[in-house]
Symmetry: C2
Subunit: 111 residues, 2 copies
């Protein structure tokens, strides 16, 4: 699952938001989500890890999770690119029509 997919889940967004304030162990994170079981949180963490949104360091049995800029940067870059390409100041429909977007009348094709 890519960055967008990883962040499409509200729980995972909350995890990322928590980690923005500082690193947490898997257990601490799980404790933040009383409505979820431990394995549930663990799987979310795996998905975030695969998406390069978080990283883990091992401290004995504990896994300390930390936010990683990589994944977020991808997301940010995509949004920035789209926004840059989008001429928001011009009315979009007007622009479309000016560019000759609609070329023909509709209905039965002329014979």
């Amino acid at each position: 699952m890519d960055v967008f997919g990883a962040l499409s889940d509200p729980t995972r967004r909350r995890i990322v938001a928590v980690l923005a304030h500082g690193s947490r162990t898997a257990g601490e994170l799980a404790a933040e989500f009383p409505r979820l079981t431990f394995p549930g949180v663990s799987r979310h963490l795996r998905i975030l890890r695969d998406a390069r949104l978080v990283g883990v360091t091992v401290d004995a049995q504990r896994r300390v999770y930390a936010l990683k800029p990589d994944g977020l940067a991808d997301l940010y870059a995509w949004v920035a690119k789209v926004q840059a390409e989008f001429p928001a100041n011009l009315d979009s429909l007007e622009r479309y029509l000016d560019a000759g977007g609609v070329r023909e009348k509709t209905g039965r094709r002329r014979r």
Copy 2:
């Protein structure tokens, strides 16, 4: 489906990217995705509409889709907030340890 969910699909991201360059009719958009059927694209457009990422204007039978800044702004705001809260310059694990994140030795509890 919210903005994140809407953008979790690659096809929908491509639609948004296309619309960033200018408005398109549903038919024109569908033509950009030869591997998908027309109704398939139509449903993606509906999801993007619900997420306030695009807007429609009616031109006779044609529906002209245009990118809307609203949804993208939400996404941008979320990313910006997380990045602002994330002290990227400090090593995250170090910070965690300094804050006393790990308080006890592991193993069997002391009696």
